[in-house]
C-alpha cells in the first residue's frame, strides 16, 4: 500500500498516462493542470514500477497539484474512476470537492480543509456522490508530498468505499437507539406504575388508620353513654384491643420496611399508653426489651396477645389500690422469641376472675401463631411466658 507520508519528492511516485484526459471543457485554466499532469507523468513512465502499481491499484487514488490555486486533480487512477463513475477528462483539473453534496457532513469537510491548509495528513469519512447522483461512504486518507526544500507540491489521496461498514454502523446505531428508547419507555412506565402503587399504598394506609380511629371513637362514645359497669368493662376491653391494633398500624408504616415489625418498639408504645390511661401511678413497669422483628402479618395477633396479658396484669393483679410492679421482657432463647409478662400482684388464685373472653383470645391467637403460652406462679404474682418459634415468626 502506498502511504507516502514524509516521503521525499525524489522517491515519490509520479504516475504517467494521464494526458489522455483534459478536453478543456471544465475550467478555463484546465490547460495548466494538463501541463502539470504531463509534467508529472513524464517523470514516471511505464517503466516506473511504483507508478504502475498506483495506476493498477484497486485502491482509488488521486493526486492534486498543491502549487496551483484550489489544488486541482492532476492524476486519478482507474479504481477512482470506477468508484466515482466519472471519466478521466471529467476529473482532471477540478478540485475534488465535486464529490461532495448536500448531505456531506460540513464538520468533516471543515476538518479536511483545515488539514490541507496546515499541510497535514488526515483520515476522514465523507458521504460522497457519484456522477449518477448515488452516494457512497468514502474513507479518505490524504497526505502531502514535499519537494527537496520541504515545500508541499502535491497531495495524494486514497479513497475506500466503506458504505457497507457505514450501513452496518447506522443499523447498529438505530438498533441501539431503539433499544435505549425501549428501555427508557419501560423505565418510565415502571416508575409511573411504582408511583401509582405508592400513592395507592399511602391512600390505603391512610384509610386503615382513619377507620381504626373511627372505630375507637365509636367505642369511646358508646362507653360514655352506658352506665352498666359490665358493659363499660366490655367496651373498655374492646377499646384496648382496637388501640393495640391501631398502635401496630402506626408502627408498621413508620419504618421504611413494611414487611417487618419491631415487637419491642410496639410494646414500649403500648405500655406507655396503658400505664397512662390506667392512671395507676402506684404500679411500676419494668421493661427489658431486646429488638425482635416479626413478619408484619404476625404483628396484629402478637400485639393482641401482649395487650390481653398486660391488661390482665394491670386490671386483676393489683386490686384495691395494692401497689406493685409489672415486668415485660422480650428476647430470644433457644431459637424462640420469648415474651415474658410477670407481676408481683395477688397471683392467680387470688385474682378476681379475669375475662374469659380475654383468655379465649390468647388461646386462639397462640394457636394461630403456633406459639406456646406458659402460666406459672411468680411467688408472689403471676408469670406468663409466650414462646414464639422463629420459623413461625419468619414465614
Amino acid at each position: 500500500m502506498l502511504r507516502n507520508r514524509n516521503s521525499r519528492p525524489d522517491r515519490a511516485l509520479w504516475p504517467a498516462g494521464i494526458a489522455d484526459g483534459g478536453s478543456g471543457r471544465h475550467m478555463t485554466d484546465n490547460s495548466q493542470s494538463l501541463r502539470a499532469a504531463e509534467a508529472l507523468a513524464s517523470g514516471h513512465g511505464s517503466e516506473d514500477p511504483f507508478a504502475a502499481a498506483i495506476r493498477a491499484d484497486r485502491m482509488a487514488t488521486i493526486i492534486t497539484d498543491a502549487t496551483q490555486a484550489d489544488h486541482p486533480i492532476v492524476f486519478a487512477n482507474d479504481a477512482f474512476l470506477r468508484l466515482t463513475g466519472y471519466g478521466r477528462d471529467e476529473v482532471i483539473g477540478r478540485n475534488c470537492r465535486f464529490l461532495q453534496g448536500v448531505d456531506t457532513d460540513p464538520l468533516e469537510r471543515a476538518r479536511l480543509r483545515a488539514a490541507i491548509s496546515a499541510g497535514q495528513d488526515i483520515t476522514c469519512e465523507l458521504l460522497n456522490y457519484r456522477k449518477d447522483g448515488s452516494t457512497f461512504w468514502n474513507a479518505l486518507y490524504l497526505s502531502p508530498v514535499h519537494d527537496g526544500h520541504g515545500a508541499i507540491t502535491h497531495f495524494i489521496g486514497s479513497q475506500l468505499d466503506i458504505s457497507d461498514k457505514k450501513r452496518l454502523e447506522l443499523q447498529w446505531n438505530e438498533r441501539q437507539n431503539s433499544l435505549e428508547q425501549l428501555v427508557a419507555d419501560r423505565t418510565r412506565d415502571l416508575t409511573q406504575a411504582l408511583e401509582q402503587k405508592t400513592t395507592l399504598l399511602h391512600e390505603v394506609d391512610h384509610r386503615v388508620k382513619n377507620n381504626l380511629q373511627l372505630i375507637s371513637s365509636l367505642l369511646l362514645l358508646q362507653n360514655r353513654r352506658v352506665s352498666d359497669p359490665a358493659v363499660k368493662d366490655a367496651l373498655r376491653g374492646m377499646l384496648e384491643r382496637v388501640n393495640a391494633i391501631a398502635t401496630v398500624h402506626r408502627r408498621l408504616f413508620q419504618s421504611e420496611d413494611v414487611e417487618r415489625f419491631d415487637v419491642s418498639a410496639f410494646v414500649r408504645d403500648l405500655v406507655s399508653d396503658m400505664m397512662g390511661s390506667s392512671a395507676r401511678t402506684d404500679i411500676l413497669f419494668r421493661l427489658d426489651l431486646e429488638r425482635v422483628d416479626v413478619a408484619a402479618s404476625k404483628a396484629a395477633p402478637l400485639a393482641l396477645i401482649v395487650n390481653e396479658l398486660l391488661s390482665n396484669a394491670l386490671r386483676h393483679g393489683f386490686p384495691h389500690g395494692q401497689p406493685g410492679q409489672i415486668f415485660v421482657g422480650i428476647g430470644r432463647i433457644n431459637g424462640d422469641f420469648r415474651i415474658e409478662i410477670a407481676d408481683d400482684g395477688v397471683g392467680m388464685p387470688n385474682a378476681a376472675k379475669s375475662s374469659g373472653f380475654g383468655l379465649t383470645i390468647i388461646q386462639l391467637l397462640c394457636q394461630q401463631l403456633k406459639a406456646r403460652c406458659e402460666t406459672s406462679d411468680a411467688q408472689p404474682g403471676t408469670r406468663v411466658v409466650i414462646h414464639l418459634p422463629i420459623n413461625a415468626a419468619h414465614p
Partner: protein, 154 residues
C-alpha cells in the same frame, strides 16, 4: 386550675371523631369552642372565636385543605395549630406554621398527654421535656420552646 383553660377549635370532617374529641378536650380541662368541617368554616371560626389552639385534620369536607387552614389561621390570627392526621409523612417540612402533629390513630390518653404538654409549652414558653409518645413537634416550635430539632418520625 387557676389558669384560664385552653380554648380549642376542632377542625375535622368526621363527626364521630369530632364529637369524641370534644369530650376528650373537656376531660383534659380544655374548653372546646367549636367544630369546623370545611376549610372556609375553620378560617371563619378562627377569626371569630380566637382559639388558643386548633386541632386540624388534613383531609376536610372540601378536600386536603387542612394544611392551608393551619397556615392561614397561624398567619392571620396567630392561632397555634396542631395537626391530627393519618398522613404524617405528607405534611410540608415547615408544618405550615403548625406546632406539631399527632398521628392517627391516636389514643385518648395520647391526646390528653399532648394537650397537657402543649398547655405547659404555651403558658411557660418552654417545653417541659421532649414531646410525649405519639406527638411530633415542628422544627420551628421545638426551637421556640427550647428544644433542639427532633427527627420527623417518632
Amino acid at each position: 386550675m387557676n389558669e384560664q383553660p385552653l380554648g380549642v377549635l376542632i377542625v375535622e370532617d368526621e363527626a364521630l371523631l369530632a364529637a369524641e374529641l370534644g369530650f376528650l378536650l373537656e376531660e383534659a380541662g380544655c374548653r372546646p369552642l367549636g367544630h369546623a368541617m370545611r376549610s372556609d368554616e375553620a378560617v371563619a371560626m378562627a377569626h371569630k372565636l380566637s382559639p388558643d389552639l386548633a386541632l386540624v385534620d388534613v383531609h376536610l369536607g372540601d378536600g386536603p385543605t387542612g394544611v392551608d387552614v393551619a397556615r392561614r389561621i397561624h398567619d392571620d390570627c396567630g392561632v397555634v395549630a396542631l395537626f391530627m392526621t393519618a398522613n404524617v409523612k405528607r405534611l410540608p417540612d415547615d408544618f405550615a406554621g403548625a406546632c406539631g402533629v399527632i398521628g392517627k390513630p391516636y389514643s385518648g390518653h395520647g391526646v390528653k398527654m399532648a394537650l397537657a404538654y402543649l398547655e405547659v409549652c404555651m403558658r411557660e414558653g418552654v417545653a417541659p421535656g421532649p414531646a410525649p409518645v405519639g406527638m411530633t413537634l415542628s422544627p420551628a416550635y421545638a426551637r421556640l420552646w427550647g428544644l433542639s430539632d427532633q427527627p420527623r418520625a417518632v
